[in-house]
Symmetry: C2
Subunit: 233 residues, 2 copies
């Protein structure tokens, strides 16, 4: 019985990873982090996705605001809005929370250790990582080594699977569509949440919505969230 | 103005590191983690040490029981007691909490980033690490790389100072004694707490007390905690 753990945020990337893990492993568990992010809707999306994929277990790990920084995701500073992708800022996005993915990977590995799991999936992607240093392959490799050393004195003990690492959002949408199949895709992706502003169906103007919309457009796939957004408008 | 951050537990090793950092840097900050450990006395010790050393800031970071495992430090399982050092178990101690030092180093680096600090001190020691994989130099080096990559895309951005890494407890006591001087040493070390069982002055029979006692005996230095223990007995 092969087992894997997925770091599930309820967004499109981690949902895609969960679907891929379910095809490759017999038993898939998930963890979702509540680290004081602005919107409970993310947690609800993760729960809905986990139920829909019939995962073996799903734990919401609440840890308060242990990370500090100026990011609007963990503070009350202003969240930028944009009309088009070419307006997005370069460099490290203001939404960067220093240490976030290190924390997620460490605690996920703790749960994997408890569950006897060595394979961990995360939706990290360096293709359009918006300047997040902790989304790059070189970081994941370094962290995998550190975690293996720290937990078991074996740098190769854990394998962090990052099937989206080198895909742009359009290719990522295509991969999800092909992996899941059109019927299940529409249902599963209607459960996901991406919007930084916490608007159900997406505000369409935050950094995350802009990237998601562009990905679906370029992939030639309709985002089931667009229907929700149209109804709300 | 040079600045450093110390991961301060209130035990003898991190207290020694804090004293060393104060000699090497102009401004020293500290963080202490409250991760659901059994005893509030550890936090009180850290606060007393930070006040005594006149640190620039001291933050207690509370994060609940985000780590799981069978360790008696985070669960209700039995804590072993011993009469002599040669009774201590080999291999990984039952007190090992998988991921603990990874979490501490990550969150410490987050605070360092916010404070504009690149030098972080920790009392990790591989000499008598009791089988804790995350106390070894090879782990600290891997984690330093992962954190630098994840925060700034620079594997050498942070330096984790581990002045006790290769010292046994006796040499560590001697180093503290020489660094601090006998008068201040007695006061500062009377504030520290080491005992896993949470007994003020030390129970003298848990793994941590056994190692501390042996270190002071071998160093030929009186532990100011012995007086407290004698008074309590």
């Amino acid at each position: 019985m092969s087992k894997a753990l997925v770091i599930l945020s309820g967004g499109q990337d981690s949902t895609t990873c969960a679907a891929i893990a379910c095809q490759q492993f017999d038993e898939v568990h998930a963890v979702t982090f509540d680290y004081g992010q602005r919107h409970a809707i993310e947690i609800e999306s993760a729960e809905a996705v986990a139920r829909s994929l019939n995962l073996a277990s799903h734990e919401i790990i609440s840890m308060g605001r242990v990370l500090k920084g100026s990011s609007p995701l963990v503070s009350d500073t202003h969240l930028g809005t944009y009309d088009k992708p070419d307006q997005l800022p370069g460099g490290v996005e203001p939404t960067f929370v220093p240490g976030r993915n290190l924390l997620f990977m460490t605690i996920a590995a703790n749960r994997a250790a408890v569950l006897g799991i060595r394979d961990i999936f995360t939706g990290l992607c360096q293709e359009d990582f918006g300047g997040y240093h902790d989304c790059r392959a070189v970081f994941v490799a370094a962290m995998q080594t550190a975690i293996g050393e720290g937990f078991y004195g074996d740098p190769d003990y854990f394998t962090f699977h990052t099937p989206l690492m080198n895909l742009n959002k359009a290719d990522s949408v295509k991969l999800a569509f092909e992996t899941i199949g059109s019927d299940d895709f529409n249902h599963l992706f209607s459960l996901t949440h991406t919007c930084y502003a916490g608007v159900k169906g997406g505000c369409g103007r935050c950094h995350a919505c802009i990237l998601r919309d562009r990905g679906f457009h370029e992939a030639g796939v309709d985002d089931p969230l667009w229907q929700l957004r149209a109804i709300a408008a």
